[in-house]
């Protein structure tokens, strides 16, 4: 009896002190929620939120300094995810969401100045000096950085085209909501 109580007490004390030491020396320095929030953001570092990049935006979100509606390219889906993570309520009807968009070059007026290529955060624009540029649709995040620098307004945003593989059934129209 005494033996078992004693051995359990010794084990408890030893393991407890190990845990205590571990919590002090192996503690996670950064706020873990920051990394999670950053993973939800598009990661194109476009700066449309007013912060330098997505990491800084995530830090501001974690501190509660920025609203969850800060990310225009993320659209409604990102707002919902961020609000759920941070446990805040948000009125989604006020979030303007034109759906995911991508950039497109109007080839007739592209002069091949290479400015858009340089600002594209994901290298989604290909081209060379005095050659028509083009957007790789799969790589474009829709941050619209290129639209602002184009001198001839050849770049514009358009909704991602629906293809046979991407089409899905619409929600049934119901009178009994």
């Amino acid at each position: 009896m005494l033996m078992s109580v004693g051995s359990l007490a010794v084990m408890g004390l030893t393991l407890g002190s190990v845990l205590g030491v571990a919590s002090r020396y192996l503690a996670v320095e950064e706020n873990p929620i920051e990394a999670e929030l950053q993973a939800m953001l598009p990661g194109s570092q476009c700066g449309q939120c007013g912060y330098v990049g997505c990491a800084q935006a995530a830090a501001a979100l974690a501190k509660g300094e920025a609203p969850v509606t800060l990310c225009p390219p993320g659209g409604k889906a990102t707002v919902e995810a961020l609000a759920a993570k941070l446990g805040v309520k948000v009125d989604l009807s006020k979030v303007s969401d034109s759906g995911p968009q991508i950039a497109e070059v109007t080839e007739e007026i592209c002069i091949g100045c290479c400015r858009c290529m340089k600002v594209c955060p994901t290298d989604a624009i290909i081209g060379a000096a005095k050659q028509i540029h083009n957007v790789i649709r799969e790589a474009c995040t829709g941050c619209s950085s290129c639209v602002d620098v184009c001198p001839t307004e050849a770049l514009g945003m358009m909704p991602i085209p629906v293809t046979l593989q991407h089409w899905s059934w619409p929600k049934p129209a119901s009178a009994h909501h």
Partner: protein, 503 residues
Amino acid sequence: MGFLDRFLKAPSWGVHPEDHKRPAADAPLRIFPTPERVFMPLHQHVGGVARPIVLVGQKVLKGELIAEAQGNISAPIHAPVSGTIAAVGDVTAPHPSGMPFKAITIESDGANRWIDCEPLADPFSAAPEEITKRTAAAGVVGLGGATFPAAPKFALGKRLKVSTLIVNGGECEPYLSSDDRIMRDYPEMVVDGARLVMHAIGASEALVGIEENKPEAIAAMRKAAAAFPEVKIRPLPALYPMGSDRQLIKVLTGIEVPSDARAAETGVLVHNVSTCAAVHKAIRLGQPLVERIITINGGAIANPGNLYAPLGTMIGDLFTFVGLKEAPSRIILGGPMMGTPLLHDRIPIVKGASGILAFNAAEAFVPEAGPCIRCGNCTKACPMGLLPLEMAARIRVGDLEGAEAFALSDCISCGCCAYVCPSHIPLVQYFSHAKGELTAAERTKLRTDATKRLAEAKAARVERENREKAEAAAKRKAEREAAKAATAQPASVAVEKTEGASA
């Protein structure tokens, strides 16, 4: 098998829709005359789109390769008629959206001349891999409607050491009788094809499941399989969806395929009877898959029945051949329970097209949906044991994750729930919508991950370039200063010298 199942013979799931198979199923098979023009789509299977290898104006023979398979899961496309390639362009896809996809147009020369076919002599002494290779080259895909390429499935069966081949002759969808017809007219082909598939996957027995509402097919198949004890004909109760692979496996073998596993992992592999016949043709005759039996049925058709038609034939041409009593109110590719509604008839038939239905106004009538009265009929009918009413209620308010928690991903879209619903709620459309949205969300996530990697790579590259520029600038500066110091040194010496001289 559970304790209670021993006392319960009939499955507790499913529905008994009016089958409408006759008189179309009893009408003799008609050969569709070679059409003037065929439109052979490049994507008639699950997996990679085939890549065209012909030029406009090129002459092709029937059975000639016109588009090759791309990727591990894909299938090649062959010319269904002899003639001239007229175009490679867009046609309307057999898809509810009515969107276009790419197809090769061939103007028929009317001769229907076959390319030289190379049959495999004595396939049972050949290596199983040879059967698989030839099946892949012949472009054989699952003809029951799923259109999964047959050859990768053989390879999977071989790798997982499948012991039982299940040959699916269920054909539980109402109105359809193309599998019934192939079993009645060509039972030897089906049995031989099944034996070839057994050889390819190394299976020791084949169970051919045929619903009891097809007694002629059962008799013909029994006769053809009499000489081969390893091929067993098993009549099944006529119950929808008996032709669905998981339900068929459960009824024939008692094995319940786990939700997250493939059928092959439980030691069985399912192939359709028409697929077996296509394998027979590919091996014994060396002919690629360019024709199929297709049921044309429905109230708007004057002479319903089965046609043997080249793939790529326009549905409108098939309608002209069988005659229309009235303009169809609805056209469906496949059966009425799971088929695809089509917007018009200028759409070519594809490998997976088991039937085309042209419904008159009475058949196409859809009653207006009412509210859910929570009667629970849908849960009794669901062959997967799901709760359709709970899933639909969540999807209606946009709670897709909630629906997912009720195992939405296990739904096979068979339509039993919507069939029995007294309020006519379009349950399957809710599920199809939710599955589409969830897949889209998954795709967006993959896309975001990929662009994130690109953004990080660009940021790293820009940083490296800036650093290299700075280093190069620093180096040049250092060199300039060293050069300056070198030129300044003799000058100062000279100054000192002059100073010394003046002093």
